[in-house]
Amino acid sequence: MQPFTYERAGSVRAAAAAVAAKPEAKFISGGTNLLDLMKLEIERPTHLVDISRLPLDRIEETPEGGLRIGAQVRNSDLAADLRVRSRYPVLSQALLAGASGQIRNKASTAGNLLQRTRCPYFYDRNMPCNKREPGSGCAALEGFNRMHAVLGASEACIAVHPSDLAVAMAALDAEVETSLPEGTTRTIPIVDLHRLPASTPHVETTLGHGEMITAVTLPPPPSGRQLYRKVRDRASYAFALVSVAAVVEKNGVRIRRARIAMGGVAPKPWRTLEAEYVLAGAEAADPAFSEAAESALAGAVGRGSNDFKIPLAKRTIRQTLAAAVEDA
């Protein structure tokens, strides 16, 4: 690890200002992703601002009937919260399908959304990687790209975003609240938090330097059935090959409204409005599910080892929808 100085922030304002003051400073929360990358010197902050003790660890009701989740709420606490389990089960399911009991006890809500890719070439400093070293090339394009993106990628980077939580948040239309170093705040729809790689895969989010996530808000719970389905190489403790978060509301034999987000297939949580459009008003049965799956993957591009993700994602969408309408 490279040397760094450490401070524990006393307030949100002070934390944002402390990071903003130094170009190489970073926030540290649970540290489960940042320290992993610092040990490999992929991340090399010269100053760490510890925000793990800031009083942002509460889950509160909003006046609109939703929930406001503090940035420091641990993944395990969020998954176990009774309001989340009963009103936003897709969120609990997604969290519980990710990482391990120990990691979830440390991992924070904001840290989870901002975790970096698990691309093996990003982790291997001997290999070219545009995300780690802009301009060096992308070893995954012609390499072992079984885990990589089929949607939203570019010729500069085909890495996927690994968060399960972010996928469920995208299906729930969550919004991210941030605090800027000047003391102002802003709200970002979750689908606008992460950027697509284009020619600058090292720029991963729309946050500025020193901009701190303070909370994630959920609108009132959508009606209908919520489901998170994760397909992976092991039954537990593995990142997604493909995952689907679905919220499906029925009206008799028809679907009134469906919301679908995918994980493991794109550089960001991938909300698929095309599929949702197909499903709105359609009969809740497989012809519509298949059509929705086809439209969700319409622009997909395989890179060789990850070609299988395209049919796998389609099947996972169909199956998740079928399960969701069973008793929706």
Partner: protein, 218 residues
Amino acid sequence: MAETDYRITRRTVLEGGAATCLLLASGLPVGAQDAGATITAERVTTPISKIPMTLRINATEQALELDPRTTLLDALRNHLGLTGSKKGCDHGQCGACTVLVNGRRINSCVSLAAQHEGDEITTIEGLADGDQLHPVQAAFVAHDGFQCGYCTPGQICSAVGMLEEVRAGWPSHASTDVATGPAALSDAEIRERMSGNICRCAAYSNIVAAIRDAAEEV
């Protein structure tokens, strides 16, 4: 000792007997040293000011001055002689370093020591009550829940934390309905909840049996 931790590189280890002696003199397993040292090479110039801190470990306050880079795991093993917690991967992947912080299980390798001032830290050394083993420890002995034993302290600390989570009604990925939580602590529930602890010897079936047994006692 903190300086030696960071200044030995794989190259110096490979090249020099002297460095190797130093390594052995530091009393650390060679593999563990090497894992930490491969990447931290060639940077001996910057002096790092240490941070004074007090950590509360196994109900005892410990005053330390540590390089900010020191993880909780390295503080325990290299600075406090508490070598029960093991370094398997040093990257949050294997669970060998699991300790309890304020009663909750975490991976001590991906946590800075400095982040834990004021916390109540319990390691495998702090679980027994005198000569009386913790029920989970006793169950691992009774069921032969190990072969080489390297993963065992982490398995046991993890199981202690896990059983607390079950008691609090936390659901898991193996629970059929997250809203209602676990119906019973089935083997499937135990396996899912313990998936953050890898056992290279694959003693899993006896580990599950030990935890199943201990669950009834604790």
